[in-house]
Symmetry: C2
């Protein structure tokens, strides 16, 4: 609770006024006044024409929610005072038929928040003031149109009356009067409609529509605060990592009217083009309309500028209201300069007088964000650092992947998690083999699976996109798809597989192999049929930002890659080495998995060595390609990591094939598979435990690495292999593996006569490894923090199983963000810090990096900068985002 | 490496002499000289008759193993010098036929170590010196008997020649001569035998038996050092937590002969009775024999004292050699007083002269250890603290459980892990239901399973013992069996289940239900048929030690218990409360599991609440019983912990029953079960994640606890429930559960009018919980460290799957001890320490305990004392051990 609130009983300011007669807030008070309130105060403070009003602070919202929906005792008096100020400034008065004060009531949180009660306009109208307003404006139509709008809005959002009932009554009235547009109704018609509306309210809400403006005001204020806790708002906050504790403010402001005649208008504008980023005034307006009409699309709004006018459009504002437009254009420049950012404005013109109703930082596409940032920096409006900070690294993904054509029709079948960005469209296939087959025959396919496993890799490669029923943002499907740059929607829980018929159900929709669907890996949506996609193109601004980012960042950016395709992609995106090459992915090819399984089935070391000898030349070939592509760059190769049972098939039939290939009996194969089965594979016989118990596996891999490195060194730049021992918890494990690796290095160098530098290090992915980092660093020449597994073990959460409860945890704000997406600083982060300190204290020059999924997450990258890692490593398509995020982190670190 | 070794090149003493002409070592130098060497030096130093000799230090062993089996350069000269000293003292000389020096070569590590090369006697004999010895002693029989024994021993242990070949030749010789005993052979026979033995050596070892005493000496020394690394020694060290780095020493000592005539003898003695602890001289001797004859059992040794002589025995030493006996009795008293402990002595009488060959602390039964400690303290020989330190807490288990009759015949079928102490015998049953059925019909049964799960609890209760094929010392079977005080052998990997015939195979042995076996949970052995067992009885010494322990310890000792039987047992053993009541164990009864499964199958909160309402009265009843038994003592109750799928059956048929009982379709049940299935249940939807996502479960349990507590408080001592939130990683989770618990407490107290004290705390069993302990302690009023799960997550080792690699890890000394048995101080211990500090810094009076299996392990208890926990909690039968270990830890902590 803030100081202000606790001081509540002794005179807290719960209300902040703005207007010509004095403004108490400014744009720095966003947390207290919300974005809208702070900006209204700011505009008012710098002398722009803002109708007077006041903001009820976010602290009232918090108080309201913490105290059984009661207000602080002082609030009522403060609101009364503020209304009096508005009355004094405008000369209008609440409930005064002669000159009634009408106000708008709007919510305004710290961050923009759809899903909440938004706006009630024309509050203050009742039977008497409506009549008074009609008389004063000499315009019954205007007065009763305003009144019926007010009843409709208020009854909907405050009293919970179905909006459609009012629409129906309006339509009936138009039919009866034989008019097509709302504007065709006369004042009397609308007055009659008001009576009908009031009857609807009484029937539905079982109470009269409130006539007292004070009752109206408190009703609207309460509705805003209640809406902070409605389901849509809660969902939105979860998706956007907004804590419930922020609360919303309420803005109450004197109404101005864009619908009082043809010298009135209302509009929205962006100080630059929010879609392309071009530096041109962009917006729409409507003459004789209220703000909502522009948005609602009942009438087609017109462009602001002559330049934007299309053939057939009516007059632009620049033509129709040249003086007011000129004034608006000045305000536009003033505001953009004042805020040093593109603004999204709302304005109203009442009888040729301009009023500014809102300014805020404008939303923009990733492309526009890039272009504006670069151009504003080049214009001198902002610094290069600021330009870098303005671009959301996550949004860069949009620029690298195909996206759905925004104009295309879409039929949403279901939703999952946006696991790997980009859109893809193709025939459904239910198996990896089928994916490969159809793709080979020239078809685009979407691989649809309950979940994927390493055995599906070839199918994932063959597919344009992957859709799974299970698994989260860091499931196998998600991680591999991001690595490959394939679109992926994971965890689409409504998918049901009917194995008998080989079809997939989504509710009643039955999909068979060959049916076409489209998935959007950026939104998580799945569509029926083909939705057109558009290909990305890289802009000049993109290259400029990347250049600036590279100049600014301290940390290197590497990539997680094991295939030549991934490695080349990553180098193209600016990767400065490989931070994680997962060698197990190399063993799933048809030829290799046979040798791999023969090794698993072997009864003894000799049998394993014979099988490994078959794998050696293949591994060597893999590494030769990688070393050639990454010429001169470091390549971190992780020794075999998954438990051996991951390489065995699941069905008895397939296991019989394995038995035959390995030359053992079915029973032996079954027993061996049974023996390898694990209750908790995540915590099982994997990582360096394989190398410790089967040193021959480590030996083969080390030999393949050194033979490949020597071969590449003989003809080009000598690679520096960094051999990584996974899942170590003790220095001894690393020492045991290092002994084998060093032996092979020596042997290969002796044979080839080639001298090589190489490092042996470890992946710090267990809490004990972090705690005992000094012990590990005595053996390891580098640490790569494997924050995926470190998160799983430190938090005790299996990412494969987290779907059942993790969303509750995010909703309940137990973890502010999904800890597999953004590092849990207090827990996992603290362990990383302990690991960094322990490692450096033992070996001051130890190389430190991170290769978990967090390596591509901007918030996490910011943390890694704080603890001083040397590099981050992420999937190829995240490399640009990581470069930018690293630069942002460096800039923030300097402040 | 020690200072001594690194200074090697500048004059390290690699050899320490002892004897009448000067002794360089003493009993404090055990690490350098080994136990035997240090005690020989000590005895020599205090003037006892010890044949002269020297000890080659343990550092030579380390040097030898670290340097490719080479000796330090200075060693040879030092050994030569030492041999010269012996020669000077004895007047005998190496290779001198006139008066040949013969020596024994014995290994001697810091701790007693079976499995290594033990002894070579009579070294120095060759064809010439044997002849000389025969002449000098005027006894060819003696000389050639000594020579043939030497060849046999030396060829076996140094040259690797099969021992049996010599035995065969000896038997053949006896047959040929028509004699029954070895003593029947004449000098010439033995001389012939020596030639035959030398031929055997030449045939088998393909080299001559060495004639040069120096070659013999270095051969024997090398054999000792090599044997330090043989498989049996390595296994022994693993089982006994002895680091390989300790090394062994080698003792070379002038021979004395107990077999030179009837004025010669040899014997072993204990200064008190090692079996009962009684303060009486205890031992055996043989006239005209070498030491090995006493042990080998070729001749039946006779008692030392007249009192110990049975009818039909020959004369005791007291009668046969009264003077020497009197001298020995003086030495006995002197040594016991000198060492202030019961000694195990070896002596030889050569021509009526007594020689002491060894003294060491004597092994004793648990009962003897208790009695001796108490009596020695009462005699003033040692302090009470010392008495407490003398008793091995682990050995107390022996005193609480039935044991195998040591005199019974046994036929070992296989071996597993000694998972829960005690012996049990009964019919094999292969299912829990069958166990219950047969036990109900009055049969003793042994439940034999691949592994056990919570569903087997009723069968485990019904069985006298449990035998499993899978799982380690902390598997479900082991933990539950220890809790119940049932004998258990786990991880007997040679068991094979044939599900078709319902039989079990052990190699070729087929066992069916109804067949009788016996298991020894203290040794891990499994026997065919019924082996008689003997029931324990508690001695007076036991109570005395427990009293002294209770006075001395700082930490409280609680128990892990959930059944009235366990709780009563534990209170009987001195438990001071319940530290862990696992509520899930209460849900596996037939009635309850139905309600539980109905809850799991429920589609919504209402359905769950309806099912929970059925469980509420049963839970309340459980807690009422526990609170009554533990009257006045604290009871820590853990909320439901395991993932819900643990309560579902595995087969489709059983699931169909569940569906019917729950009133859902089979398909719905299947889908629900599928949805609940987890890849890594250990890291899944369990612990407080259940309470967070289904608060109604927590609510029901809280209500049952408070209703029970109020009911008990109404008629007796008010219990203090300590409600424990499991698997929390954040303060918020605890806060959410606490809110529900507090609500129920308030409601129940309002209804009953009873006021209750209670605590809400958490189990610290995740690394994040330890790291963020301050955050947790803001909500939690106590911490109980759940070091089982903390070990699994910190080390990333699933205890269910660890069997595949953990023994390699112990062998390779990656972990010095099984981290599930004894806490890993550097990793898990460090996290506990961080948790303790974090908890206390936030809440100085926070109550801190441990409830993992480590709570009953003496080494771990010692650690918990160091970090200052308030209590440990362990299974009922471990309570006495924990009380003693806590006292020992307090004593050690004070030093």
């Amino acid at each position: 609770m803030t100081e202000n609130t606790t001081a509540g009983s002794t005179g807290t300011a719960w209300v902040y006024n703005f207007g010509a007669s004095g403004t108490e807030g400014d744009s720095s008070m966003r947390n207290l006044l919300g974005g809208k309130g702070a900006n209204l105060a700011e505009m008012s403070g710098i002398g722009l024409p803002v109708p007077p009003g006041f903001t009820i602070t976010t602290e009232v919202c918090t108080y309201f929610n913490d105290n059984g929906r009661e207000y602080p005792a002082e609030l009522e008096a403060q609101v009364k005072d503020s209304i009096s100020r508005i009355e004094a400034e405008t000369g209008a008065h609440f409930a005064d038929p002669a000159n009634p004060l009408l106000v708008s009531v709007r919510s305004g949180a710290r961050a923009s928040m759809p899903g909440m009660m938004d706006t009630v306009l024309n509050l203050g109208l009742n039977d008497e003031t409506a009549a008074g307003l009609a008389a004063r404006a000499d315009d019954a139509r205007f007065a009763y149109d305003s009144y019926r709008r007010f009843i409709q809005m208020y009854a909907d959002v405050v009293m919970g009356v179905d909006h459609g009932l009012f629409e129906d009554a309006l339509e009936t009235m138009k039919l009866n009067r034989g008019v097509f547009d709302d504007t065709g109704l006369e004042g009397d018609d609308l007055k009659t409609l008001v009576e009908e509306f009031k009857t609807i309210v009484q029937d539905e809400a079982e109470t009269d529509f409130p006539q007292d403006p004070w009752v109206q005001l408190w009703g609207a204020v309460g509705a805003v605060f209640n809406s902070w806790m409605n389901a849509r708002a809660i969902t939105y906050r979860r998706l956007n990592s907004i804590p419930a504790s922020w609360g919303t403010a309420v803005n109450v402001q004197a109404m101005v009217f864009g619908n009082m005649g043809t010298d009135c208008a209302t509009g929205v504008a962006f100080t630059r083009n929010p879609s392309t980023g071009e530096n041109s005034f962009y917006g729409e307006f409507l003459i004789n309309a209220q703000g909502e009409d522009v948005v609602a699309g009942i009438r087609t709004p017109l462009p602001l500028t002559r330049a934007a006018r299309q053939d057939g459009d009516g007059e632009s504002m620049e033509e129709a209201m040249p003086d007011v437009f000129a004034q608006l254009d000045v305000v536009r420049r003033q505001l953009e300069k004042h805020y040093a950012d593109m603004q999204d404005l709302e304005f109203t013109v009442q009888q040729n007088k301009l009023y500014m109703l809102q300014t805020r930082s404008g939303k923009r596409t990733a492309e526009a964000a890039l272009r504006m940032s670069v151009e504003m920096a080049e214009e001198g409006l902002i610094s290069q650092d600021e330009a870098l900070l303005r671009v959301d690294p996550n949004a860069l993904d949009q620029l690298l992947h195909p996206t759905l054509d925004p104009t295309a029709e879409k039929d949403v079948l279901t939703r999952g998690l946006p696991a790997s960005p980009g859109a893809a469209c193709g025939q459904i296939v239910l198996s990896a083999d089928k994916a490969e087959e159809l793709s080979g025959a020239g078809h685009q396919v979407i691989l649809v699976r309950l979940e994927t496993s390493p055995e599906d890799i070839h199918g994932m490669h063959a597919a344009a996109g992957i859709l799974t029923a299970r698994g989260g943002m860091t499931s196998h499907a998600a991680v591999v798809a991001r690595g490959m740059g394939r679109a992926c929607v994971s965890g689409a829980g409504e998918l049901r597989f009917d194995e008998v018929s080989g079809t997939v159900f989504i509710h009643e929709t039955q999909l068979s192999e060959g049916d076409i669907i489209t998935i959007d890996g950026s939104s998580g949506e799945v569509y029926r049929g083909a939705v057109a996609t558009v290909q990305p193109r890289m802009s000049k601004a993109f290259s400029t930002i990347m250049e600036w980012a590279d100049e600014r960042r301290r940390m290197a950016v590497r990539t997680n890659a094991e295939t030549p395709v991934d490695a080349r992609t990553a180098v193209g995106f600016g990767a400065e080495g490989i931070g994680l090459c997962r060698t197990e992915h190399m063993f799933f090819d048809q030829d290799r998995i046979i040798a791999m399984r023969r090794m698993i089935m072997a009864a003894d070391t000799e049998g394993r060595e014979a099988a490994l000898a078959k794998l050696l030349p293949m591994q060597r070939q893999d590494f030769e390609e990688l070393f050639s592509i990454m010429a001169g760059l470091p390549v971190t190769i992780r020794l075999l990591d998954p438990p051996l049972h991951e390489f065995l098939p699941h069905s008895a039939d397939e296991l019989a094939d394995v038995a035959e290939a390995a030359g053992v009996s079915n029973e032996t194969a079954r027993q061996r598979a049974l023996k390898l089965a694990e209750s908790n594979p995540m915590l099982g016989h994997r990582g360096c435990r394989l190398a410790v118990t089967y040193p021959e596996i480590c030996r083969m891999q080390a030999r393949a690495i050194f033979e490949a490195a020597c071969a590449v060194a003989a003809t080009g730049a000598a690679p520096v292999p960094e051999i990584m021992v996974p899942l170590a918890a003790t220095g001894k494990e690393i020492a045991l593996c290092k002994a084998v690796i060093d032996e092979e290095a020596e042997a290969v160098m002796a044979t080839t006569g080639q001298q090589l530098s190489y490092l042996v290090g470890t992946m710090v992915e267990l809490p004990r490894a972090a705690i005992c980092a000094g012990d590990l660093a005595a053996e390891a020449e580098f640490f790569s923090f494997g924050t995926n597994d470190l998160t799983q073990t430190a938090l005790g959460i299996s990412r494969d199983d987290a779907g059942a409860f993790l969303h509750y945890y995010i909703d309940a704000e137990i973890y502010a963000k999904d800890p597999f997406v953004s590092i849990d600083r207090d827990g996992v982060g603290a362990l990383v810090k302990i690991g960094v300190e322990g490692g450096r204290s033992q070996r001051p020059d130890i190389k430190l990096g991170v290769c978990g999924e967090h390596g591509g997450d901007p918030d996490s990258i910011s943390f890694f900068e704080e603890v001083g890692l040397d590099y981050v490593s992420c999937s190829p398509y995240r490399v640009p985002a990581a470069r930018l995020a690293a630069a942002q982190a460096a800039i923030r670190g300097q402040d």
